[in-house]
């Protein structure tokens, strides 16, 4: 028949091949036996239990995992994937943030114009800035959802109490990371949002110059109180910019990163993801 000529496969035949998976096997065979492949990889991967274990145990990145887990821990309906996505978003902000740091100077005279330069003159600068900002905002949302899921599954109950406590530190640091970053564009939005936020420190009991009982603490004044320690002066000015920059790029990421390591380590030590016994 006409449509069975060699070299011109029929559509129906092709669909059948795709459906049965035969086509992919064929492609795989072609690729795996090609000269490029065989010269690059000296031997194939045999899907044996021993190799499955080695893939995890002998890989510096993957060995964060146990080699075997409870079947139910795979269910997205259980974890919502939110802890992992939070971590991924954190990593995305680290990568994009380092790139932004190449172009940004935390100085009153420069900061705003560096942002403009980044947006209009740096190749992919706008994209990097957008990814950094949206990943940060998304991280705030996913960490709240992660916490909600952990609460709903009662996963803070013994033996995981302490990991919940670490988690509360993590959510606090996530918010502080986002908040300190908010000032850095040095535009009106940044300056006034941070003014509103840090004004609260003025009202700290005992230590803020407008807080309850401040009159009983020696030396508390608008120039010298909890708020001025935070922003390095009595208004949100260049010293605040530098302080927030250092906190945002160095101190908080280091602390949050360290806490994440402990968080992941504790998940394993506490017996993996929680589940019905």
């Amino acid at each position: 028949m006409a449509d069975n000529k060699p070299g011109i496969p029929s559509i129906a035949g092709l669909v059948a091949k795709i459906k049965s998976g035969e086509l992919f096997e064929e492609i795989q065979k072609q690729v795996l036996s090609s000269q490029i492949w065989t010269s690059s990889f000296r031997h194939g991967y045999a899907d044996t239990p021993r190799n499955r274990v080695l893939q995890i145990a002998s890989n510096v990145w993957l060995h964060l995992h146990p080699v075997k887990i409870q079947r139910h821990a795979l269910r997205i309906k259980f974890t919502w994937c939110m802890g992992g996505i939070t971590f991924l978003l954190f990593l995305s902000t680290v990568v994009t943030g380092v790139i932004l740091m190449f172009y940004y100077r935390p100085v009153g005279e420069y900061a705003y114009f560096d942002m403009k330069y980044l947006q209009y003159d740096v190749p992919f600068g706008m994209l990097m800035r957008n990814m950094h900002r949206w990943a940060a905002h998304a991280m705030v949302i996913t960490v709240w959802l992660h916490m909600f899921r952990v609460f709903l599954t009662g996963s803070y109950k013994p033996p995981r109490e302490f990991n919940w406590v670490i988690g509360v530190f993590l959510v606090t640091f996530t918010l502080l990371l986002s908040f300190t970053g908010y000032l850095l564009p040095w535009d009106q939005l940044a300056m006034w949002a941070v003014t509103v936020g840090t004004n609260m420190a003025r009202a700290t009991p005992f230590l803020g110059n407008e807080g309850p009982f401040q009159e009983y603490v020696f030396g508390v004044s608008a120039q010298y109180d909890a708020r001025s320690a935070l922003i390095g002066g009595s208004i949100v000015g260049p010293p605040a910019l530098l302080r927030f920059y250092v906190l945002h790029c160095i101190f908080i990421p280091l602390v949050a990163g360290a806490l994440m390591i402990v968080h992941f380590w504790r998940i394993r030590k506490d017996g993996g993801i929680s589940g019905p016994l």
Binding site: R52, S155, D187, T204
Partner: protein
């Protein structure tokens, strides 16, 4: 589609599975979709950049970053020492205490409403209403002067809102400063005392098993959370400003 329920073990299926490939491939797919989503979002929507910072030009309204707008909204009802300092500290400490206060052994590691109704209600109320709903209100409905505007209303910076609120002692006819202070202290102190006593009475059978200190801290945290709601309602429904006025602080 057959979903294997974790509780009844499926015959012939092993309980433990290899992380490679089963978990790693899931993580890979999850990461792929997240990164694609983030990239598309970043291509489509630009991060905001307003005019350069200007300390002499205060925008109206000045809003904190959106994730703090719940707290900023509480400022309408409470003084900054509470809304901006004590409340956040209480939230953080209270969250950390959850595993040590909730000693109900049921519902560990699976979804259940039946076995821990109170816990789910309290957390969901705090998270969804006091945190998320206030944020949504703060982002979309709070305009100049931190006044409430419906989405279809014009943000009129000259909107006049009558300040008719009075303090609770005044509303009850207490007119001298010292008496008002006493009255307010009695109301606030009475609220906590009666609330605590009532809780211990209702839960008296549990004291031995749960422990006095645990129950005491738990009810104080509940009372503070309920108190915030009471104060919001008092303000909105009865125009009550402060319940207790002292030379040092007001509640």
């Amino acid at each position: 589609m057959a979903i294997d329920k974790p509780k009844n073990k499926v015959e012939g299926l092993e309980e433990k599975v290899h992380v490679w490939p089963y978990l790693v491939r899931l993580e890979f797919l999850c990461a792929l979709f997240t990164i694609i989503g983030l990239t598309v979002w970043s291509i489509v929507i630009d991060a905001p950049l307003e005019e350069a910072a200007n300390p002499t030009k205060t925008p109206n309204p000045s809003k904190a970053p959106w994730y703090f707008l719940g707290l900023q909204d509480i400022l309408v009802y409470f003084d900054p020492w509470f809304a901006g300092v004590v409340a956040p500290v209480l939230i953080i400490v209270g969250l950390m205490l959850i595993p040590y206060l909730d000693i109900n052994p049921k519902g560990n590691g699976y979804y259940t409403y039946e076995e821990r109704k109170v816990a789910i209600w309290v957390y969901s109320f705090g998270f969804l209403v006091l945190w998320i709903a206030l944020i949504i209100m703060g982002v979309f409905l709070r305009g100049p002067g931190w006044n409430l505007f419906m989405p279809w209303q014009y943000w009129d910076p000259h909107k006049v809102v009558a300040l008719v609120s009075v303090d609770l002692p005044y509303a009850f006819g207490v007119r001298t400063y010292n008496m008002a202070m006493l009255f307010g202290a009695a109301v606030v102190g009475g609220y906590f005392a009666v609330g605590t006593a009532a809780y211990f009475f209702v839960e008296r059978k549990a004291i031995k098993a749960v422990g006095f200190l645990r129950m005491f801290i738990k009810i104080q945290l509940y009372l503070i959370m309920i108190g915030i709601v009471i104060k919001i309602v008092l303000r909105l429904a009865f125009n009550i400003k402060y319940i207790m006025v002292t030379p040092w602080f007001n509640i």
